[in-house]
Amino acid sequence: MQIAVWQIVLITVIAFFYRVDRLGTQVCNYNAVLYSWIVGLILGDGMTGLIIGASVQLMSLGVAALAGSSVPDYPLAGMVGTAVCVMTGQDEGVGLAVGIAVGTLAVQLDVIAKTLNVFMAHKQLAYGQAGEYEKMKRITFIGPLLFGLTDALPMLVVLAFGGDVVNAILSVVPAWFTKGLSLAGGLLPVIGMGALLTYMPAKQYFSFLAIGFVLSAYLGLSILPVAILGGAAAYEVYKSLTAKSANESALANEGGLEDE
């Protein structure tokens, strides 16, 4: 599909906004589903956006949280993946693979922005010491400008050239290549699962992992009822933990009395 100029402009602006919000107001953050869906809607295919956004979101669970480390820019991956998928009419796995590739490369730009901001910080302080307080405040906006561009620029490049390039490549590659990518699309969410387990107390609370598994795999419950049951369990754990610490401090006080 050929995309119009207004679509390119709008999606690029959204990519810019995404980054400034992720770092600043932090409301939509790493909400890959939301951004992929919006890009899908702009291009006239919200459903594709939701599906790709879901895969990216699942992959990013437990990965996005480790801020600072070099992991793909997942929401950008979702937006790029959706755009590529709709523009080329290819399978979701293809869009996902291109999205992740772009999201991984965009991290390099992030390093550049954080380095350039060192100069902004110096300049800001210099203005402050020179008594130019208005300039001191104003120069801070270089930060969001740089960061916004680290996502807007890759997005713009993909929108301008991505569709043709991807289609040209795919027209010469064999069938197993695209089939493999669509299989990978189904398997990649496993990364998010693995990452979550590495930093949650999986060994200590293994029972709940098993309970959730059975509820879904054997009883076929969808995620919301499972989350409600999990929430009920969490509440009981919270009550017993706070009761325990209250008991302990009470015991400690009693012990003190006996000693006297």
Binding site: A54, L125, F147, L181, G186
Partner: protein
């Protein structure tokens, strides 16, 4: 840690008689703090955003003394990094100290920030950047797979309150109550984090068989009987056996320190092989 915390408690516990800043001034700082990580740099991290957020309030405190104002700016331009939605607790408390004692409190303000940065971020990161995204992200992704955007919108609503709302409100708390808040919260937060992990693990347990898609089309022929490995064997052992195995493998790789990018590449290569030789699908 607790000794250190009591040592750097600000002397002043409530906004008393010598108020220079109004509630509006604090609120203005809070909104300007929405600059947050946008000011990030490798040297002083979030400090440029602190300067941006506090500039006007500090000007009001040192309205007649340029020298003191510059000193204070220099102080707020020092290294700072705390989970932004809760940073207002420290920054608000710092403003209250400076409002009362002026430049003589700058060292104490700095000690306060450096001393509590770590523990406050520990609390903030665990809840705002790990637990909420895990639970809301899982639900929104699961619903999106079925073509439903409601989960993603709920996620936005939750973050509106727990991230942006807290980011604004934490300045009020910091300014009013100082840092005693952090110490009194720490106990409860530890229990809350652990309890939320239980919820998170239940959800992850349910997600593994439903969102990780891996099955085999291989069948074994013994004599006249053809046995599909997936239906005939794997599903009999455990529904979702292959997704579970895949999760365990990725988990082990991550624990060994293999990078996410390498695992992504590995999965794609594995799927290409699977497609070429027809053992997945």
């Amino acid at each position: 840690m607790s000794d250190e915390m009591t040592k750097i408690q600000p002397e002043r516990e409530s906004a008393g008689d010598h108020r220079i800043l109004t509630d509006q001034d604090i609120r203005k700082c809070a909104w300007r703090w929405c600059m947050s990580v946008n000011g990030f740099n490798y040297e002083t991290q979030l400090a440029p955003s602190v300067v941006f957020a506090e500039a006007d309030a500090l000007r009001k405190i040192y309205s007649d003394d340029d020298e003191a104002y510059r000193k204070s700016i220099e102080n707020s331009a020092r290294y700072f990094n705390v989970t932004p939605p809760v940073a207002g607790i420290l920054l608000g408390a710092g403003l209250a100290m400076e409002e009362k004692n002026g430049t003589s409190s700058l060292e104490a303000v700095q000690d306060l920030k450096v001393g509590l940065m770590g523990s406050l971020s520990g609390i903030g990161d665990a809840i705002i950047w790990v637990l909420i995204p895990t639970i809301c992200g899982s639900i929104s992704a699961y619903m999106a797979q079925n073509g439903n955007p409601v989960g993603a919108l709920l996620y936005v609503a939750v973050m509106l309150v727990c991230s942006l709302g807290l980011k604004i409100k934490s300045w009020d708390w910091g300014y009013q109550f100082g840092t005693q808040l952090i110490t009194s919260l720490a106990d409860k937060v530890a229990a809350l984090t652990e309890a939320m992990s239980v919820l998170g693990l239940t959800v992850v347990g349910a997600l593994i068989p439903s969102v990780v898609k891996l099955s085999t089309s291989v069948s074994i022929t013994i004599g006249d009987v053809s046995l599909g490995l997936q239906e005939g064997l794997f599903d009999k052992i455990l529904v979702g056996l292959l997704p579970v195995c895949a999760t365990v493998i990725v988990y082990q790789l991550l624990k060994k320190g293999v990078s996410t990018n390498k695992i992504i590449l590995g999965i794609i290569v594995f799927c290409w092989l699977g497609a070429a030789f027809g053992f997945i699908g």
